[in-house]
Every structure is written in structure tokens, then in C-alpha cells.
Symmetry: C2
Subunit: 302 residues, 2 copies
């Protein structure tokens, strides 16, 4: 059953089969929602988030915390049970762990981070409501041969394949390694979160199995990327380990390859508003597994 | 006939077949050679070159000159005679021109640049002698899907495959497009030019045919790259179009991929000292074609 049959209005049609490139859709929703006034996010951070679709908080984790998160990551990647878990993505050629999904259910440290007031209240300030975790993971990108990830909006996928109706969702990426301008860190287009870019092509069955490694569907046309880059420019998420990037679900972002010896790892948590819960996918035959797109909408509390 | 049979001493053995990683070789030659005192390079630039193995000259070309070089490049890539020339590297998938070798013989503009006192005398100041062009080319790297180039020392190849005996050779890369930190520009390790990294593995026949696209032979071991990066750090060649990078033949450098819409193109000229002319290759069965490694050692004059 897809959303088409549920009667929920699709404000962001995508994965369309069309002769011509579909029109861009200007967003009417805010990035920062009213309704939650207490929390660690400063007015400047919230203004930047509304305007650019992202903002960076330095030193969310201190050196000691970074070290223990990294140790935890190492321990998890060595745990045979974790490696064998379907929520763990292991790269075939190298036999190395790339991502561990549902990290907040697997790692107590990540679970605590999700409930930490400086994280949870920050998310609630942005989304203006109670929130739950739509997705979480720990990522490990190797040096020397780290592949990049092409330009995309996460919301495009979460709308098409998971059924998130609106853009009331925010991601937190906490760097566990230093992000240099040259080791494949995230690039974002400030302000491009205000534009939804419909993508061409239908969603293949079980698309997530390949799309987590390399996205081929839900990829914007080059003309659209060029237009947005021309209009908004490109910024990089750089900074020492422990820095945190909050970015809107519709931020246009991507990353290049990493040939430097400096690997990158991060904890990635997606908070969705409890007023934006998904029903059926808008452009896929069936739902993705719950470890990729949660169906338990219980609000997070301290 | 390889250099092994000519009796010329091989100070930089490479392409070795070994059980263990060969030792790194510390260079005894300078990067800036005495003997030429007049020219546009400032004492600071020469000091930086000696110490780091590279330096950047801003505004070597002004906006008008950049524009005419770019127009020339466009005209050349559209010229059926140039496209059919063996000196032109055309990417099969896209049918786009990536490089035009012997650019100084094909383009009058490049030829003039080579003879321009602000270029020629700069090269002579660094190499301390008369110079000739070992190689020249115009490069065009597309946006969206520009592939990077893995870490390497140019000298390693020019020594192994062309027979350059010593490190008395310098490259000039003139940016014809803006180099951002995020569109796949050159990365260098300042100071790593003082270390020669012998590489494992023999040179296949006609290696240049594939190595110009992706280098598989003459690639340093990951441990060596990690060691040099740890010791020297990484810097990027960024700056507006018209900026010029002078870099020593043994600089350890590489570049990441480019997924941004901003392509990169540059003019690349390799000056070799007339006192460092090659005889036979040190680690290859036969010489590469002359459009890749010149055998005409006539000094360049105004």
C-alpha cells in the first residue's frame, strides 16, 4: 500500500516518470518551528538554521567524550554479533564495517546522547514539538579509498520511501574525527533547503539495499544541482572532533572522496517531529525496514 | 635498453620487487638550485619552495588572460584535428577531452606563456640553469563526476619511465578556473619533497596508456603516505583563476573527486634543467612517447 491509496496529500511529488525535468517546488514550511522556547540553541543558531538550513555547534563532545565514543565504535566493529547483525553494513572488498544502524538501540552511549538535554532540547527547539528518532547510525569512512556520496536531499528519500509527509525533521551529525576541508567531509548549499528538487525515475524494489552504498535513484538532475550551487554556493562542515552539525532534512548535501590517510567517523541521529510521523511511502511499493525508518513514534525524554 | 645497461648510477631505485617495503630515501639535492639570480621569484617564494617543495603565485594571469586561455581550450577541444590527435586524451564514456599533451606545440598561447620572462625566469631561478620543457598539457576536469588522482610523486614516474636522473625539475600549474577547497584541487604535503618513496612492482609495457587515466604502478604504499602525512600535514592549492602553483618534481601530491558543478582546468608545464636530461628509463623497458617525455633538450629562450 503506498500513500497514493491512503488519501494523504503529496506536497512533494518525486521519483516521477516525465519527459521533461519537473519544476522545482518552493517550500512553505519553516526549518525552525515555533512552539518550544527552552533549550541550548542560541537565537543566532536558530536564525542561521532557518536561513541556511544548517548550523554548527563546536565542542558538543569534549576530547574525553570523543575518545570514549571512538573506543565504543571500535569495540562494536569487532563484536562478531554486531558484525553479523543485518543493521550493520560491512563493505565486501575490505570486510570493514561502514555503518551501524539503530545505533541508539545497540550502543548505550548513543542512547544517552539522544536523551542528553543539550541534544534533545536542541532538536525540540528546532522542530517545535516532542521528537522521536527516525533513524540513527554510526558511520566509519576509511582513509585512502573513502568513497563520497553524491548530492541529495535526505527528505527526498524519507518522503518517497518512508512516507514522511513534511519537512519537520532535523539531522545531527557529531564528528568523532577531525573534519578537514580535504578528507571528504560534508558539503552543503546554504539556503537550498528551501527548494524541493523532484527526482526522475521510479523506485526499484528494495532500493535501500543498494542506495545505502551508492544512490542511483532520488538523485537530482545536474542542471538542478548547478542551479542551486550557482544560487547558494557551497559550504563545508569542517572542525575538530566533537563538533556537531545540525542540518535540515531537505538540505542539499554531498561529499567527495577521501584519499588522505585521515578517516572520518561520526554519530548520525535523525529527529522527527511527533507531528510529522509517516504513514505509507509516497513513491515506493513498500516500507523500508524499521532499523532504517522507525515506526515506533514514542517521544524521547530525558 | 634501460638505464641499468648504460652505467648511469640510479640514486632513486623504484618499481622494485621486494618482500618488504623498501626504505625511504632522503634527498640530498636542493629544490632551489644556485646559479640564476635574476627573475620574478622573490626570496620568500624561493625559501618557501626549498622548504615546502612548492609555492603559489597569485595573479600570474589576469582575468582577461584567463578568459582567452579558456576560449583557446574550448576551441581546441572542438577542433576535430586536435580531438583525433594521439596527444589528446578523450574520455570514452563522455566523449570529452580531458588532456591535450604537448600543449606548447599545439597552442601558440601556451607556447608564449612558456617563453614569458615571468614564467621562464621563474623556472630558471628555481633550477639554477637553462631549462627546457619536459612535458606540457592543458587539463580539463569536469564537474559532477571528476575523478581524483591518487597520491604520487611525478619524479618517481619521470625517473622510472623517462630516465630523469635527478630532482632538478619543476612543474607549473596555472589555474584557469577557481580552485575551491571542495572541487578536487591539488593537495600537497609541504616538505615531503625531501623524501623519495620507492614503489613496489615492475612497470608493465606501455604503462603510460593506462597510467594517464589511473595510476596503478608507481603508487606509494599506504604506510608511507600515512607516515608523510603525519610528519608534514596536507595543504591545498586554492585560489582564483589565474593563480599559479610551482611545485617540485618530487612533491607528494594527489586530488580527490569533484562532485560540485564547478569544473577545473589548468595549464601544466614541466621545466627540466638542461643539466638533468634523461637518457634511458631507470625502471621500464622502453621510453615513453616524446609528447609525454620530450627528447628535444633545446633550452627555452624569450
Amino acid at each position: 500500500m503506498s500513500a497514493a491509496t491512503t488519501g494523504i496529500q503529496d506536497r512533494y511529488p518525486t521519483r516521477v516518470v516525465a519527459e521533461t525535468r519537473p519544476d522545482l517546488i518552493e517550500r512553505t514550511e519553516p526549518a525552525v518551528w515555533p512552539g518550544w522556547t527552552q533549550g541550548p540553541a542560541t537565537p543566532e543558531e536558530l536564525r542561521a538554521h532557518e536561513e541556511n538550513g544548517f548550523h554548527i555547534t563546536r565542542g558538543l563532545l569534549n576530547e574525553e567524550e570523543v575518545r570514549s565514543f571512538r573506543d565504543e565504535l571500535t569495540a562494536l566493529t569487532r563484536d562478531p554479533k554486531v558484525r553479523a547483525d543485518e543493521r550493520t553494513i560491512v563493505e565486501k572488498e575490505s570486510d570493514e564495517v561502514r555503518s551501524i544502524f539503530e545505533a541508539h538501540k545497540i550502543s548505550e552511549r548513543v542512547e544517552k546522547l539522544v536523551r542528553d538535554p543539550k541534544v534533545l532540547d536542541h532538536a525540540r527547539q528546532i522542530l517545535g514539538s516532542d521528537v522521536y528518532v527516525h533513524q540513527s547510525r554510526i558511520n566509519y569512512m576509511p582513509g585512502f579509498r573513502g568513497k563520497g556520496f553524491y548530492w541529495h536531499s535526505d527528505f527526498e528519500t524519507w518522503h518517497a520511501e518512508d512516507g514522511l509527509p513534511g519537512m519537520r525533521c532535523v539531522s545531527l551529525s557529531v564528528a568523532l574525527t577531525d573534519n578537514h576541508p580535504y578528507n571528504g567531509g560534508l558539503m552543503l548549499m546554504p539556503g537550498a533547503h528551501r527548494t524541493f528538487v523532484p527526482c526522475l525515475g521510479g523506485t526499484p524494489k528494495d532500493n535501500y539495499k543498494s542506495s545505502l552504498k551508492e544512490q542511483r535513484i532520488g538523485v537530482p538532475a545536474e542542471e538542478d544541482i548547478a542551479l542551486l550551487a550557482e544560487r547558494h554556493g557551497i559550504e563545508q562542515f569542517t572542525g575538530p572532533a566533537g563538533s556537531a552539525l545540525w542540518f535540515d532534512c531537505n538540505s542539499m548535501h554531498g561529499s567527495g572522496s577521501n584519499i588522505t590517510p585521515f578517516p572520518r567517523s561520526n554519530v548520525f541521529i535523525v529527529f522527527n517531529s511527533v507531528e510529522n510521523t509517516p504513514a505509507e511511502p509516497f513513491a515506493a511499493e513498500r516500507r523500508r525496514p524499521e532499523f532504517i525508518a522507525a515506526r515506533d513514534f514514542t517521544p524521547v525524554h530525558y
